[in-house]
Amino acid sequence: MNLFYDGSFEGFLSLIYEVYHQKMNVTTILKKNPHKFIFDEVLHVETDLSKAHKVFSSLKKRFSKNDINTIVRVFLCDSITFEMCLLEFIILGFKKNENLQNINYPSVFYIKGLEKEHMRLTHKMLGFVRFEELEDKTFYAKIETKFNVLMFLGEHFSKRLGNNPFIIHDIKRHLAYVKHEDMKEIRDVASFDEPLYSQDEAKFKSLWKNFFHSVAITNRTNIKLQKNLVPLVYRTYMSEFHD
């Protein structure tokens, strides 16, 4: 059986509901309606909030907190087709919770590996995000990441930046984490204008670049290693790599 759903978390939970209750034998799961029907049979699973809710509460009953976090993290690896493995992972967990520790199952190994990849990306981004100060003293950062890590970044900087308002703008996903006083939330961003920067912004960028170039030791230059550690895809918004 080939299934497709709308790509949302609720949609995926609804899909689990149907698979479970109708004892489906699934072969493929797609995020969107395929343009051409390449398969003999494609079933559209509607997103149903009450079904999603039921699945989620039984997940919470039967799975450890860690395993639920794993599921959520893997779901945020949105540029990858993880659905079949995640479905298998969840089915294994429902059968016997201990299965989820058994990394000899290919799906368990894969899901745990993907979770780690998501964590590594999050951790890298904690360092590589760059804020710029706007005219109104808001700190504004643009990001473009392979996976959706916005929520984790938002939480990290909410703790870190104290009373300073900030925005982290996920350009490709059209999302923004906005923190202002006690309010923090993730918003959709339909369109935006380039903001105005504070007067000090250029000064500190220049100091930063000078610092960055001065701490390098020329006798030890190793550009290849640098490229492994900060691959080019991360450099778009890191001013030290631009003149």
């Binding site: 520790q101 058994n102 290919p106 951790h123 760059r130 710029e132 104290g162 000078n210 550690l229």
Partner: protein, 411 residues
């Protein structure tokens, strides 16, 4: 000519860059609502310089003026270089602004000796006070303790900083006498001992401390160096010892000739690997180096070299042996050992299983038994194994080979 603030940061970062004892990991989180900054347990790299080193902290000197003349140091008084200083306020302002833009985890502050030790330590403290008291800054601060400064100043530094350090600089008193006649090992270690005492009095846990040794400027062997590190770790005086390949910036009669010297990067790398074995893998220094074999092998990493000299202990059965022994298998790191422990609870692992678990068996295969199987092409003799290992190990210098160091900001 008056220097701009851009000139200053270039000069004072340049003067600090040879100090490698710079990471921000290992502090517990200390977040307070509404205040600026917190520390992160696993350390964060904000960028990597063209030499492939992690930038985690704003590493600068308050001033590169110095009254001393240590032979190996770029800032020594006899060098004709541009001299300058930040005011504490200037530096605090840059730190805060860098921090808010997420350029850094915090500040790593050191200085040449201006006028005298106490005066210098006071200026460093002044910067820390502005950050901590005026701005309620909770980010990471690492400050150098100036050897020879007053005890009260060291006590205050321990209150304000997350980590303090004082560099041993050279691995023996003899070398110090040759190259830094104003310093003695006792004088350099004194502020660390003192810092430990006062923080232990305040609360049971000592403040986190580290030191740095310059490698290759003087004649000590790796045996001498690792013995010293191991003693410092055993006494729990230090959390980290950093090794810094000597980079010739000066000429001096007691130093290697500048034009002929290249930094011993491979040796530095091997020392870090050996240090890692001391701290996390349960090795004793005299298992890795011996009075007969004083230096680490350049061809093979210390663990492989150890295994080659102890072949009577191998092969080991990965389905049976303890975690300690798993971690002693060449090519199996901490993560690999954890995966094996986890997976073998459910089944007896064979070679194929290891590959599925993405554990590299390139090196390990010569040293293990898996489900009654072991590799049979190469007999377990030192010389035969060496040739086999050399063929599949085209290692290049990569100072960040360890399991998770890349992500933690630990060098």
């Amino acid at each position: 000519m008056k220097l701009t603030i851009d000139d200053k940061i270039s000069i004072l970062a340049d003067g600090a860059k040879y100090d490698v004892s710079c990471s921000s990991s290992g502090s517990e989180s200390n977040y307070k609502t509404g205040e600026l900054g917190n520390t992160h347990n696993s350390g964060i790299c904000h960028t990597f310089t063209s030499d492939g080193r992690c930038v985690s902290l704003l590493k600068v000197l308050l001033s590169n003026v110095c009254i001393y003349d240590c032979a190996y140091c770029i800032n020594r008084v006899s060098n004709d270089i541009r001299r300058t200083a930040f005011t504490p306020r200037e530096l605090a302002d840059i730190t805060l602004n860098f921090y808010k833009r997420n350029y850094i985890e915090g500040l790593f502050l050191s200085s040449g000796i201006i006028k005298n030790e106490d005066h210098t330590m006071l200026l460093l403290l002044q910067t820390l006070r502005i950050l901590r008291h005026e701005h309620k800054f909770n980010g990471y601060i690492h400050v150098k303790l100036i050897p020879g400064s007053a005890k009260e100043l060291i006590a205050e530094a321990c209150l304000l900083a997350n980590r303090v350090s004082s560099n041993i600089e050279l691995p023996s008193s003899k070398s110090l006498a040759l190259l830094a006649p104003d310093k003695t090992k006792a004088k350099l270690l004194e502020p660390l001992k003192h810092a430990r005492e006062i923080t232990m009095e305040r609360n049971a846990k000592p403040i986190s401390m580290s030191t740095q040794m310059i490698i290759g400027a003087t004649g000590e062997s790796d045996f001498d160096i690792l013995k010293l590190s191991s003693a410092l770790y055993d006494k729990a005086l230090l959390k980290r010892v950093y090794y810094s390949a000597y980079i010739a910036v000066n000429n001096h009669k007691n130093l290697p000739v500048r034009e002929l010297s290249t930094p011993p990067l491979k040796r530095e790398h091997r020392l870090y690997q050996a240090d890692w074995l001391l701290r996390f893998y349960g090795f004793k220094y005299d298992e890795i180096v011996t009075p007969q074999n004083q230096n680490l092998d350049i061809q093979f990493d210390p663990k492989t070299f150890w295994a080659l000299s102890n072949l009577h202990l191998f092969p080991v059965d990965i389905n049976k042996v303890s975690q300690e022994i798993l971690m002693r298998i060449p090519g199996i790191g901490m993560r690999g050992a954890m995966k094996i422990l986890q997976a073998r609870k459910f089944k007896t692992l064979n070679f194929e299983d290891l590959v599925k678990l993405k554990i590299s068996i390139k090196k390990a295969k010569y040293f293990i038994i898996a489900d009654k199987n072991y590799q049979k092409q190469i007999p377990l003799y030192e010389d035969r194994l060496k040739i086999a290992l050399m063929h599949n190990d085209k290692s290049i210098i990569q100072p960040n080979l360890f399991d998770f160091s890349i992500y933690t900001g630990e060098l």
